[in-house]
Amino acid sequence: MVMSRLILGIQCLTLAGLLTATGVAAQTRSAASRPASLLFVSNEGSRDVTVVRLPDLSVAATIPLRERPRGIQPSADRRRVYVALSDSIPTVQSPGDAIAVIDVASRKVIARYAGGTDPEQFAVTPNGATLYAANEDAGTASAIDLRTGKVSETMAVGIEPEGVAVSPDGRWIYVTAETSNTVSVIDTRSDRVVASFLVDVRPRAATFAPDGKRAYVSAEIGGSVSVVDTRTHDVITTIALGDRSKPVGVVTSPDGTWLYVANGGTNTVAVVDAAAARVVATIPVGRRPWGITISRDGARVFTANGLSDDISVIDTRTRTVVATVKVGKRPWGVALVER
């Protein structure tokens, strides 16, 4: 099984290397003169970040970390990648709990910011000024000023906070909480929690539609995605993904037409018609996909597969996996820096 996956991965790699006409490949118009687009994968098992070059999908670097990395996101200017690090001592803040700053050009950790206790997921505001992180064990969210690297505000949210999403206009931060089944809404103008609402059971990730009118929250035990009206901060409908789906990561296509949901329980990505609020396709990927991201043109979706130690590359037009790339142990999150 492992061997066949490996072979498949190598075949796909070769195949992907030959693909030059569409998707991510098409964006790299003059690869020789421009830096390559890069995919950064956080590996919580091997405690490192794998850097994958696009479009050839070769591993460009492995960045070692002392602590366990999970949430990973590019900076607004795409010159840096932030990665949330946790030590092995829950509930206590220590120097091991941090947001590491990776310089994209040198592929080195150039700074460590305080991230509150046990930071897991986070979001960076579109203006690049502030990073909001969920502190899982403390039940708080921290606002980190990216100019100073200091925590500027700490806000009480639900119990076991996890997913963090920022609205496209930068006004709202949604923080999910797994045990209290809640989403807390932070107004970034005041850095206060201004509303909270219930979603389905064990919410994990959240994301906003590109127009900001809707947000989507995955519920791992509920097996669903809750659709939120962001004007009222209320759930308006729930999309069932199947009892065993265990959805975690969720992204939207750039035009907001499709949702792509990483179903950790069934090793698939569900393609959801956002307007119709129903699943229209299911794409088999690697084992236990959690982290997910999408290219700017919407042509490629990437998943971090925690139990098969690889990433899957999906062609969204054919809705098939076109490549599989081995990374570190227990990949958790994936961030795309496009050039």
Binding site: P90, T179, S180, I221
Partner: protein, 344 residues
């Protein structure tokens, strides 16, 4: 013992009122609209009408091995009582976000005392750690007064069969479930090698890590400085279930809570990685159990403060890699066909 006709009317009356709040609102429920902003009410107190806050979920705890409210006993809080306290804290915290309130009306050590509270105190939910006979008595009183009873400790199969009661829900695993778990484990169905020594079946173990178990264990241990055990998990989960049912049903009366718990679509997360739900035929909680070898107990932290060696996680039954569906979870305990529980 089947419930007499009037009990059924009580249940149905509560049910009718509750249904308006339950049907179709499972995920659209926003519980900010419970009248004025109400602060969560915590602490041990009972019978003080002046301080009674309306629209609170009113909970009483029966712990026959524990201390009663106001008692001067030097007996320490049981782990069940600790789990309840953690659950109350977390529910109160959620109440500050969502509105609503949860109130621990009283903590008593005898079923007789608790029945008095059920009769007088407009309780919503009773959570009990009591003997089978006391649990049956509490169940009858709960049914008469439209209160939901969550049984966190009695394993007796009779309570799920001939003595079943409509308002009683069992968080504790039944003897039949425990026997099935041990049988499956001994046969090697969820273990690489067959076992002859007979493992210990538990609801919870402080070494569990997956599915948010590590976070729950850490919260418990940081507060009580000891490992979370099965009784603690049952106490914590019972409060969580009561609070969530009330939130989702947008109601605080026990009948509404019972209706919500009984719904087929209702499910909860207990940090066990699969949706947990109550069986319609006997109100037993469907849940994975864990089997550990007899010598495999987690140790309490040593006096030197050194981290105890806790060994490997115990074995889940059914195995977690089956992505335990309801069908898999129903392989533990009495099936619908074999159940002798009849709701009157």
């Amino acid at each position: 013992m089947s419930a007499p006709e009037p009990d059924r009317r009580v249940f149905l009356n509560h049910a009718t009122r509750a249904l308006a709040g339950v049907i179709g609102t499972h995920v659209t429920a926003r519980v900010g609209g419970w009248g004025p902003k109400i602060q969560a009410v915590m602490g041990l107190r009972g019978g003080d009408a002046r301080r009674r806050v309306p629209a609170a979920l009113r909970i009483a705890i029966v712990d026959t091995r524990g201390v009663a409210a106001g008692s001067t006993s030097s007996r320490p809080l049981t782990t069940f009582g600790m789990g309840v306290d953690l659950g109350m804290d977390e529910a109160a915290r959620a109440a500050t976000l969502l509105g609503g309130a949860i109130e621990l009306v009283s903590r008593v050590s005898g079923a007789r005392h608790a029945i008095g509270l059920i009769e007088r105190e407009r309780l919503s939910v009773v959570i009990s750690a009591a003997s089978p006979d006391e649990t049956a008595e509490l169940g009858d009183a709960a049914a008469r007064h439209g209160v939901a009873l969550l049984n966190a400790s009695a394993t007796d199969d009779g309570l799920r069969n001939a003595r079943c009661a409509r308002h009683t829900f069992h968080v504790a695993a039944s003897d039949a479930m425990r026997a099935d778990a041990q049988r499956l484990w001994s046969a090697g169905a969820s273990h690489p090698a067959p076992r002859a020594d007979g493992g210990e079946v538990v609801l919870w173990d402080a070494r569990l890590e997956r599915f948010g178990a590590a976070q729950l264990n850490a919260r418990f241990e940081s507060r009580f400085h000891q490992p979370m055990d099965s009784d603690a998990w049952a106490g914590w989960f019972a409060v969580k279930v009561a609070w969530e049912a009330s939130q989702r049903a947008k109601a605080v009366d026990g009948g509404a809570v019972a209706v919500y718990l009984e719904r087929d679509a209702t499910q909860f997360d207990g940090q066990k990685g699969v949706p947990l739900s109550f069986r319609g035929w006997d109100h037993q909680l469907r849940q994975p159990l864990y089997v550990r070898e007899r010598a495999q107990r987690p140790e309490t932290p040593s006096s030197t403060g050194a981290e105890p060696d806790r060994g490997a996680e115990p074995t889940p039954v059914p195995p977690s890699n089956t992505e335990a569906s309801r069908t898999a979870l129903d392989s533990l305990g009495t099936s619908e066909q074999a159940s002798t529980c009849r709701w009157s």
